[in-house]
Point group: C2
Chain length 224, copies 2
DNA sequence: TAGGATCCACTGGTGGATCCGT
DNA sequence: ACGGATCCACCAGTGGATCCTA
């Protein structure tokens, strides 16, 4: 077994050691506050788990654990383990989308090894009450990779021919594209069919809840 | 006279109204603190004068006064009016330097209309003690523009052939290129003679003190 | 239900320049 | 003297995601 594979096993073991803990208790054990209402602290649970598992990477990182090539994703689920939300993967560069190939893409690199950590939210309790559930280390099977590639190709194909207005969240079986901007007013640059500049809102890749729900139950699943 | 020309006259008149005032007093009249030692507050005098004259532009601006096309530059001078320092103009984009033409360059746009405001520093007093001196509204004469173009072409020519290591502050009669980074460790991308990527430190255009000193005394001067 | 809108923390890059060793 | 190194404030962009109407 390589050092990298050993490191990944250690990481998964550490994640298993957190199962059953409340996120608020994790925060306090790290010396952090667990204050703040839900709408003001959207990214906080994810940041807590990163700290608890020692994610390095810092800024401008490709993965949360660069030496392991592993991406950490927390995912809010209900008592049955069904995801409540889609899962953000990474931003989509509109300006050079037509240059992108799935095999070398940022989104594929992110998804090549993902450690999903479900956080169980019962009722409408605030995030500190969420409990860590069993982690799932996932890599796409060849069949899954083919579907994801197909979703990706559909997106970059549309952008490549300048039909960006047709790029809605309706597209994609598992991988979709949605707006990603702190305020709805941020603009970025894309190119139309005639090569003209178009100011449009930044987008990101997201995994649909149906897909993440299925791979949490069975990592080789092929849902709808 | 156009509205723009009227606006410029109003601006210059307002700058004349500040002559003799101490920068620290200006700061207080704007509700700002005039604390801090010299090394910690390098850009403060310039920011004070911008506020005092109502510079808009905010971020991502081409000029300090966009409607007027005027750039504001404070310049520290001694009791004789001789500049103590070079004057920063703007950053130099190394990645696409070979695409740049003087006529359409950012540096030429910045220098097309400059309101220089000398700040007289006597002895080794801190910046709040500096006094506003007579402003000079300057636009390059055709002769001056030709020299500046020559300096610019020398720089972009070197970068275009990938000889960036020869790009030192020794080059340029009036316009020189020097490092411009908050820490010496910041890197940016340039291209070598064979088109390979080179990580190098960001640079900026600066006006030599000899040149600014001459045009403060005579805007059409042609020093060394 | 889910597509489109939005929230916070953090930081790298930019704009304002001057410092300081050789 | 001056070429190379450095300093601070500020803000837009990124990374962490969830909110919220129709």
């Amino acid at each position: 077994m390589s050092a990298r594979e050993e490191g990944i096993e250690v990481l998964v073991a550490r994640a298993r050691g957190l199962v059953g803990m409340r996120v608020g208790d994790l925060a306090r054990s790290l010396g952090l506050s667990s204050e703040g209402d839900a709408v003001r602290t959207k990214g906080t649970p994810g940041a807590i788990l990163e700290l608890a598992l020692g994610a390095t990477g810092g800024s401008s990182k490709v993965h949360d654990f660069p030496e392991l090539g592993v991406e950490l994703k927390t995912i809010p689920v209900d008592l049955r383990g069904v995801p409540a939300e889609s899962t953000y993967v990474c931003t989509l560069s509109l300006a050079d989308a037509e240059m992108q190939e799935w095999d070398d893409s940022w989104v594929r690199a992110k998804l090549s090894h993902v450690l999903f950590i479900p956080l169980v939210a019962s009722d409408e309790e605030p995030w500190p009450a969420r409990r860590v559930a069993a982690p799932v280390l996932w890599s796409p099977t060849p069949e899954q990779d083919a579907i994801l590639r197909s979703d990706f190709d559909d997106v970059v194909g549309l952008i490549g021919v300048g039909r960006i207005e047709e790029l809605t969240a309706h597209r994609g079986r598992w991988l979709q594209v949605r707006p990603k901007a702190a305020h709805g007013r941020v603009r970025t640059t894309a190119y139309g069919a005639d090569g003209e500049h178009i100011a449009t809102i930044p987008r990101g890749f997201y995994l649909r809840p149906r897909f993440t729900g299925a791979i949490l139950a069975d990592p080789s699943a092929l849902p709808d």
